[in-house]
Amino acid sequence: MKNVIVYVEHRRGETRKVTFEMATEARTLADALGGQAHAVIVGPGATTLAEQVKTYPLNGVYVNDDPDLDTYLLDPAVDYVEAAARAIGPSLILIPNTLSGRDLAGRLAARLGAGIGADVTEFKIENGTVACVSPKMGGALITTCAIKPAEYGIATVRPNAFAAAAGGAGATMQTLEKPSGKPYAAVIEEDVEEGSGELALEEAPVVVAGGRGLGGPEPFDTLLKPLAHALGGAVGASRAAADAGWVPYSLQIGQTGKTVTPNLYIAVGISGAIQHKVGMRSSGAIVAINKDAAAAIAEFSDLLVVGDAFKIVPELTRLVEAAKA
């Protein structure tokens, strides 16, 4: 492992912040390992996106606008990244810790005989060995695992854990030839986008989450969304709210939902069950609004305001809006 490869996840040329966080960290890692930092972008929109990725401190950006990436489920991406890794030589491959990022990481690990550091929030490099630090079991413990010296290693990187900073050497762009592999097996027949325009929950710097205390679906739109937008954040929910059908499961935070680590987490009408806690306890600041002073959430909040959410939230939104104006 000497070079660093960043896998850029995107949708028709649109990517998320974690791409730039990885591109920035890749430079630091490559310098520590004495190698180069590269990015791989494949699928429709790759070339356009490459122009943006190139403004980060990388040596090279490998692209291919291959439409097969929109037709087949992940199979072409696995082939491309494997081909890039073999062309670039021994390297640490950074992949975002997302649904398809985890799939890709597992498949590449089997193909390249690579060790995986999962959900990494910090890297430590000593004598060429890469150690990965990750919070596990919903943040109940922090593990450090070392990828054994080998040609290839893989890390799935947690969004929001590393800083992104553009600048540095102008990276060269080159086409990554289409690898000839096995025929692709899984065909995408239909691809539907829902709830676009909203900030991805995992990447939002502020999360305003609602629970059973909100009593129905409307307050998520009328109460929480305005506050989240005023703070530049996204709306999340407890499982009780998702189970009741008030919000889609994609907003659920916790053990069986998403793990979020925003700078600010505001829990509204959420009691703070352990299964909820494990999905948000690593947040920067935690504020709770609850009618019940004895709610479990008090145990891990920086501030609990005891009162009625329906009265407090609109006032708070107004204060935040006023401060912005």
Binding site: L99, D103, K136, M137, L141, C145, A146, E190, G257, L319
Partner: protein, 262 residues
């Protein structure tokens, strides 16, 4: 049709986790071992597909774990799985994702399947990388995060959730499928199921039975766990009783200003 479901046995996710300050290990005493929650959803999916297919469809659960945890697998049999296969061997200790997936794949080749259903994520290691690695070792299509699945004429058709919506995907059998939590709530084991499970078999497998070409366990692992540490302490914060909405909002706003969050 033969459906195999992989089930990891993990420490109870609902128990508070503690690190022993001397050994730096997770305290396991007093913490029950359970079926990994995601895997209960995978099993539910298998049981639903079996009910729909009828005929001679069978559901086999597979787990790889230390011998002492074997009986935990009975819960899967009580939920409705027909049989279980349990791979256990001291030589597997210290396996990482790569070694786990490789050993599992060799056992699964021996067991055979038309459809392999795997959970999306575990509650302990939670790498979520085992499904992809398994699919590669087995050379089968890998379709993840399904909320619906149907099988017709040797083709698997899946509706899967993505980060931005959903997709419909098809692939040929045999295939590997992972399930989203929206596939359906895992059923409870009935009393009849619990009684029946006592008579079902948990077939043991060891490394000698599956014959591996490559090393597994700590020797074969490509990754080594070096240290466990407790998270930075997060103490109980302030509690403010709000006289009215405006006072509550002001208390929060002052806090946000103090923390430079607005």
């Amino acid at each position: 049709m033969k459906i195999v479901v992989t089930v990891k046995l993990v420490p109870d996710p609902n128990a508070e986790k503690r690190i022993d300050s001397a050994t730096k290990r997770l305290v396991r005493s007093g913490v029950e071992t359970v079926l990994n929650p995601y895997d209960e959803y995978a099993l539910e999916a298998a049981l639903q597909l079996k009910e729909r297919a009828g005929g001679d469809t069978s559901v086999v659960v597979f787990s790889m774990a230390p011998e002492a945890l074997k009986e935990t697998l009975r819960k899967a049999l009580a939920m409705g799985a027909d049989e279980a296969v349990f791979l256990s061997d001291a030589g597997l200790e210290g396996s990482d994702v790569w070694a786990t997936a490789y050993a599992m794949s060799q056992a699964l080749k021996k067991i055979g399947f038309d459809l392999l259903i795997v959970g999306g994520l575990t509650d302990d290691g939670s790498t979520g990388a085992v499904p992809g690695a398994l699919a590669e070792h087995l050379g089968v299509p890998c379709i993840t995060n399904a909320r619906k699945a149907e099988i017709a004429d040797g083709t698997l058709r899946v509706e899967r959730e993505t980060d931005s919506g959903y997709q419909t995907v098809r692939g040929p059998l045999p295939a590997l499928l992972t399930t989203a939590l929206t596939f359906g709530e895992p059923r409870y084991a009935s009393l009849k199921g619990i009684m029946g499970a006592k008579k079902k078999t948990i077939a043991p497998l060891t490394l000698a039975d599956i014959g591996l070409d490559l090393a597994v366990g700590s020797d074969g692992a490509k990754m080594q766990l070096e240290a466990f540490a407790p998270p930075p302490a997060r103490g109980k914060g302030r509690t403010v009783e709000a006289a009215d909405g405006a006072a509550g909002a002001q208390a929060i706003f002052d806090f946000l200003k103090e923390k430079k969050l607005v």
